[in-house]
Amino acid sequence: MSVQFSKEKLDRVNELISRYPEGKQKSALLPVLHLAQQEFGGWLDVSTMDYVASLLKIQSIEVYEVASFYSMYNLKPVGKYVFEVCQTGPCMLNGSDQIISYIKERLNINVGETTADGLFTLKTVECLGACGYAPMMQLGKIYKENLTKEKVDQIIEECTAIAAANN
């Protein structure tokens, strides 16, 4: 087993399991996968998923099935900052197409790609429930809303600065 939660995170896993009836520990799969993705590099490796399966006492395939169904789990490595830009109807009406092409141009990558320095990944996603604050994107835990080109510039600069400071 190449991955292992810390003691603190294991307690968290057990707390998650305890939220569901006895014997229904599989119910904790979604939250535990979120935790695993957050802890182990922003994506789910096969060994990570096998580890989660062993924690929940289920078959590995049950984890693969679930992880591949939901769009928030990354099954391939992603950049440090993932720009998930909404492109559905209401965002489109407010110019999400232009925002997406601007980000492509700024970062010199296509949708689905990661910059060479491994810092940014650009994804297009479907409605994130922020239609009134369009165009928008999700960046990690938070939503960046009412995007303009200037705002995108600012976000990219901030991320670059934080990454530089952490290195």
Binding site: R19, P21, K24, K26, S27, A28, L29, L30, P31, L33, H34, L56, I58, E62, E65, V66, F69, Y70, S71, M72, Y73, Q87, T88, G89, P90, M92, L93, N94, V125, E126, C127, L128, G129, A130, C131, G132, Y133, A134, Q138, K141, I142
Partner: protein
């Protein structure tokens, strides 16, 4: 001005905190409800005429009364906070700004239904909202409104949040339950209905966030008082999330007696369309309900003023009407392209189809491809009829309503905007650089109907 039942206290400073919320009169409904018989609470909800706010509009009290109560099986209340319908963001607004209202409603509803462990299934992307709810739950527990023997009533209740992970389909109640069980979000084949066999095979009620929040004023003021707000079978207030080309996008609480025109143009609500542009079309209830051209939106085919309520919005059926749906109000101005907009919706439903049943799995992808073809200036006349045929054979033939949700917007776009499709096909190069524009879509209705 609408009397606000849900969002009245939203802007009180610190309302997210238990103390402020309590000081503003919060949690009184729990105190009141715990002294009532469970069946009496269900009766109050029935009396109120409250209808499910998630989109289907099914009477909540009736849904509650269907809950099976077999010996030895736990019953569960699950709150559907998997808000993912394009155009809809009202639940997020409510949970983010006034989380205790939902928790309060959850406690009362859990008591009414006999659920000692209840879950809030929240869409995965609302990560920070889930944290806000967790904090609210903790506070409620510290203050004795959750946990063992709530307020000495003998009623125990725990509430947990459960984050999804990106799947629109989990807003369908049985897919949501599958997801809550840690599985792929595949809708179940009904019957059995969740009220008999829900999560972990136990009787379960699934209600939308706004529905559960509405239980609070119903218990506080009584079902009858609630039923007097609004009109006809559209009782109470409804949260509308307005977006698209309007001056003031946001969430509004309305009492369903105002007209659509007032909602779009008055400063109290959407504040009109930016830059003095004209209204072309609108999807009044979330992306899956039929789109209407401006003339049919503001007036029904009978020539009556269209109102913002369940009955009036659906007046005329799908031929000339639409639906209240989830209250996601999407406005398109004169510069927008209906083909392009419907394409994004077709892409959305293709992306979100779970793939379990064949019409939806294959049909949604096919529709998106035909739309791409037309939008990219390669369309042929037969493609319009093909699209019509594909949607027609998806509708009603699938396991869950996602198939219908994918079919309706396409059907309505073709029904009302066929000439815009034809223009794309006849002007293959021009359609790449400019849009069809307003055309006749805002012309007086009389001219259109006759």
């Amino acid at each position: 001005m609408t009397k606000k039942l849900l969002l009245d206290k939203v802007h009180v400073e610190g309302i997210r905190n238990f103390d402020v919320y309590r000081r503003e009169g919060g949690y009184q409904s729990v105190e009141k409800a715990l002294k009532m018989q469970q069946d009496d609470i269900v009766e109050e909800v029935k009396k109120s005429g409250l209808r499910g706010r998630g989109g289907a509009g099914f009477p909540t009290g009736l849904k509650w009364s269907f809950l099976a109560k077999p010996e030895g099986l736990s019953r569960y209340l699950v709150c559907n906070a998997d808000e993912s319908e394009p155009g809809t963001f009202k639940d997020r607004y409510l949970m983010e700004l006034i989380p205790h209202l939902l928790i309060e409603g959850m406690i009362v509803s859990s008591y009414a239904l006999g659920s000692t462990t209840s879950y809030i299934y929240i869409r995965g992307e609302y990560d920070w909202v889930s944290d806000i709810l967790d904090k609210a739950i903790d506070e409620a527990k510290q203050n004795g409104f959750l946990g063992k023997n709530i307020l000495g009533s003998g009623f125990d209740c725990e509430i947990y949040t459960h984050r999804g992970a990106g799947a629109y389909i989990c807003g369908e109640e049985t897919a949501l339950l599958e997801s809550l069980e840690g599985k792929r979000g595949l809708p179940r084949i009904k019957p059995p209905f969740p009220a008999v066999k829900g999560v972990w095979d136990c009787p379960t009620v699934v209600n939308n966030v706004e529905t559960i929040a509405a239980v609070v004023p119903i218990i506080n003021d009584g079902g009858e008082a609630y039923s007097k707000i609004g009109v006809g079978r559209s009782t109470g207030t409804k949260l509308i999330s307005a977006c698209g080309n309007i001056n003031k996008p946001g969430v509004y609480e309305i009492d369903m007696t105002i007209s659509v025109e007032e909602f779009i143009y008055s400063d109290e609500y959407c504040g009109g369309i930016p830059n003095g542009k004209r209204l072309k079309a609108c999807i009044p209830g979330g992306s899956s309900v039929p789109i209407l051209p401006a003339n049919l939106l503001l007036k029904t085919a009978k020539g009556e003023t269209r109102m913002m309520n369940y009955e009036s919005l659906s007046d005329g059926g799908f031929a000339t009407g639409s639906m209240m749906g989830s209250g996601g109000f999407i406005v398109l101005d004169e510069d927008q392209c209906v083909v392009r907009h419907t394409l994004t919706l077709a892409r959305f439903y293709h992306h979100e189809s779970c793939g379990q049943c064949s019409p939806c799995r294959e049909g949604t992808g096919w529709m998106e491809k035909v739309f791409q073809k037309i939008e990219n200036g390669k369309g042929e006349m037969k493609d319009i009829d093909l699209l019509w045929d594909i949607q027609r054979r998806i509708e009603g033939n699938t396991i869950c309503p996602l198939g219908d949700a994918a079919a309706w917007p396409v059907a309505a776009a073709i029904r009302h905007f066929r000439d815009e499709f034809e223009w794309h096909i006849n002007n293959r190069e021009e359609c790449l650089i400019r849009n069809y524009g307003l055309a006749h879509y805002a012309d007086p209705l009389e001219a259109v109907v006759s």
